[in-house]
Symmetry: C2
């Protein structure tokens, strides 16, 4: 590595970029390679980052390997003798080490460092860091029905507060969530699904959708060796899934979406992945993200029927991640909930197939991510398992009550005739049509660049274009121990201030490279962003060709 | 069991009360005994609870045992053939089955059922259910500095909002928490600890304290068999610890607090527990709750020094659960943070002993439980482990931002000279002195009852009195497959509407029985409550003597 690079990236970031880090979707992949360090290295190069936050001896102690029963004695910076740590990278939970979450990985940490450097007056080839790595709708400014001061908004607030203990959001709620909110969720689902019945008792309010997904996976995991639970996830995937499966030591079963056919799901590929997995684990669940994250595709009704038939035939528990159900833009595309399709397929399916569906306050047109609200609906779950689910959730007492209240607003927006209705519809329409416009714009601009190919963004909030990386750049990345698309994105960040997530963080077919970029920035900003991406790609291609 | 009992308790509650359920603090204890069931049983006896929420075939399906590879075919209620569930009680995650959380266990479920029955006009020997099972300060009405409309409250709100992405609490924050809030937490800790330095980079904002505790335990667990991580916890304990350890398949190492000496911690007992545990596991961490939950003791400075010396000598990672740090009532008692004592013991300890300390918005005088706010401070943690901690927390994106904002208010209350100061101090003083009064009152009234012995409630929010249960009642409980104190508390609930948590849910020396009761209800209500407990105990003793 060159001296210039070292000064741009902190040792911690470098460590995080070390080989093995990005292989998150390979089941049983080893932990990261442990690079060496030099005592005081960080504080020499990054006084602003480390002087006030690093205690003496920390850099040194990270070099020391302590094994159980063999406490090491070493010299600390000030010359006194001290023993090695009780908890070290070598004796910590190995499943935690395998967890990776690219959306907030090293590239984001570097973006934060760059922001700090900018604010300290350091010169950069850009004026601001643009974080297009994460679907944070609120930070990019979306709807705020919450802040309406109309009578109906106030009466809604009162109704929710009346359902809270002590009439306060500061009180714990029932572990499953506030009863009246769960009723509103159930009514929403019934409206959404054309009258298919929904029982409030099957609704669990969760801390964002992530909490529900992790909890369901927890219930499913058992067995050892060849009987260990396997869970099928799409590749590309949202890395919450790989992270949770790594932590639970479950077997990740990859099925690949078809990039050539607009990231569609192919039953033949599901069958291939399942058959291969059955040789070494016990596949028990199938996870679907629709609309897709990071891929942005919207599944057809036929595809969903096929998936349900497949799950029934192969006895798989279905997990439908439907947090982008309100984010559908492409003409001819429509959101079909797994539950609705399941029930329309008749009792052979609707009375047998076990399904958990997830929704969130963080996405759709509200985009209230910071409140960490969400729900899951469970269908056909065994009664005793449901008791266990409720018990498990009770340990964390309840999901955040303000998030529960927001979930109520998401599922129960202002109705015709209510004072807030017109303003709400106007804002919703403009938010959604702006997103549709940005989805088109993103596809269009990226496809003008030689070496970038972008599928239509039919839904959700991201584009996931394929990029051609020249062989020379691939070799350069290898030398640095980086995935080629991590090298590409890191270079883009350093040169343009644009923070994207490399495709390797989501998984992709070997030898292909992508990045995920959110379409959320305001249109004028997005145009500049896309243009900068274009120029960077051209420069990068030229440099390494 | 008598027919009357069956009509009072639902089959689900009965199942939850089955033998083996309460043995939560025995490492490796088996799952609950599976009682049989009768199809439709629930819907015959509890139409109001099951008719609208139970799908046909649910009661039946819970009888069916499905094993991997052997899908069972069975008749459903409507006569069609259907297969067994993919996910059943027999093939679900066995560690989840071992999780128990008494604070929201079967007795609370029964309390909720009773509330419903009362609201439906069913006659009971009481007019309302009083939930004295949980420390929900807000539901019992506490301070609401949040709602002040003074200028300083508003400017504080603005400052926090300015630190949020898009100036909105609806945006994700950094995974570790909002920077300015972490700075305020660090300053608070420095003030609290007489100037011992605190680095914002060592502060993690969490979803209540529970999230921080579980995350720290996750990092610590590794090894198999005799090298499996063991974690020392006090008995009685707060059942979050036993639940988390069960889920992580870590070995729970019990050390018993000394009830005769006001629930104090004895180093000899720590040593005994550790030495015995070393024969079959690898003890790596020591958890302390101070002030104590459920026991209400406040540790002396000497005791804390001894614990720190013990942890250093035995190479244990210290976890200090200090969520009740502002709840100290008894004269002569004072809260000493583990960190302050650690640093005052000199560099031999302050530079080596690894410590995580936890705090929460849910307790103290604010009591904002529903927001799920909290922080942890880590001290002397290995640098690489810290990276892993940050990474692990990034998977859940961030803790709820409103909870982070509230944490800021907890650590940064109105200062002298600010418009809100006087009102705040008045409210805080009156809240804390009312709690002190209620702590005294509880101890005093309970100790007037023959067969109840209550230690002083020095701090926290609970009393944990010892109760004498007559031999006849113990036999009666055994017949029902219940722990004697569960039998006692369930009977109290049915007869008086008072919801307490049996001591068996927290752990206690064999042959002793207790209950946990929060002291939070308003004084006049608490007086009635205590009197009803007294009368119930006398009646119960008479009935079974």
């Amino acid at each position: 590595m060159s001296a210039t690079r070292v000064q741009l990236i902190s040792p911690r970031t470098l460590r995080l970029l070390s080989p093995g880090r990005s292989a998150l979707f390979l089941p049983g992949g080893g932990g990261p390679h442990r690079g060496g360090g030099v005592p005081g290295f960080r504080s020499l190069i990054f006084p602003s980052l480390s002087s006030s936050f690093s205690s003496p001896g920390r850099a040194l102690s990270s070099l020391s390997t302590t094994r159980r029963g063999l406490p090491k004695t070493k010299m600390s910076d000030n010359g006194t003798m001290s023993r090695g740590k009780v908890l070290t990278i070598d004796n910590m939970n190995p499943t935690v080490k395998k967890v990776e979450y690219a959306v907030r990985g090293p590239i984001v940490q570097r973006a934060v460092e760059l922001e700090k450097e900018l604010s300290e007056g350091r010169k950069k080839p850009f004026a601001e860091v643009i974080k297009a790595n994460i679907g944070d709708a609120q930070a990019m400014a979306q709807i705020v029905f919450l802040k309406y001061k109309n009578k109906d908004a106030k009466s809604r607030a009162c109704r929710i507060l009346n359902s809270c203990g002590g009439n306060s959001m500061g009180a714990y709620s029932a572990s499953q969530g506030i009863g009246s909110v769960r009723q509103d969720v159930a009514r929403y689902i019934e409206r959404r699904d054309g009258g298919v019945p929904c029982k409030p008792d099957n609704i669990y309010l969760t801390t964002g959708a992530s909490d529900g997904i992790v909890t369901m996976l927890k219930l499913l995991v058992c067995g050892e060796g060849a009987t260990r639970t396997g869970v099928m996830i799409s590749i590309p995937q949202y890395p919450l899934y790989s992270a949770a499966l790594a932590e639970l030591s479950a077997v990740q079963i990859n099925y690949y979406l078809n990039e050539e056919k607009c990231w569609s799901l192919d039953i033949g590929e599901l069958q291939r992945a399942l058959d291969e997995a059955r040789l070494h684990c016990n596949p028990r669940a199938l996870c679907i993200i629709n609309p897709g994250n990071p891929t942005g595709q919207v599944q057809s009704r036929e595809c969903i029927e096929d998936v349900i038939r497949f799950a029934a035939k192969e006895r798989l528990f279905l997990m439908a991640d439907e947090v982008y159900q309100d984010n559908v833009y492409a003409e001819g595309c429509q959101f079909h909930s797994f539950k609705k399709v399941l029930f329309e397929m008749g009792p052979e399916y609707s009375e047998t197939v076990e399904l958990a569906s997830f929704h969130s306050t963080s996405k759709c047109y509200m985009g209230e991510c910071g409140f960490r609200g969400g729900y899951m609906e469970i269908i056909n779950m065994d009664d005793d398992v449901k008791d266990q689910l409720t018990k498990l959730l009770s340990v964390r007492l309840c999901s955040p009550v303000p998030g529960q209240a927001l979930m109520d607003l998401v599922v129960n927006p202002p109705q015709p005739g209510e004072p807030s209705y017109e303003r709400f519809i106007k804002e919703r329409t403009s938010t959604l049509s702006a997103l549709a416009e940005k989805a088109r714009l993103t596809e269009q601009v990226l496809n003008t660049v030689e070496g970038i190919r972008c599928n239509p963004v039919q839904g959700a909030m991201y584009s996931f274009p394929r990029i051609t990386i020249p062989e020379k750049a691939i070799q350069e990345a290898k030398k640095l121990g980086q995935q080629p698309d991590m090298f590409y994105c890191m270079k883009m960040l350093e040169e343009t201030g644009i923070c994207l997530v490399p495709g390797s963080g989501f998984g992709q077919r070997e030898g292909t490279y992508h990045f995920r970029m959110t379409i959320l920035p305001p249109t004028d900003k997005l145009k500049i962003l896309l243009n900068n991406v274009k120029e960077f790609h051209q420069r990068f291609t030229q440099q390494y060709s």
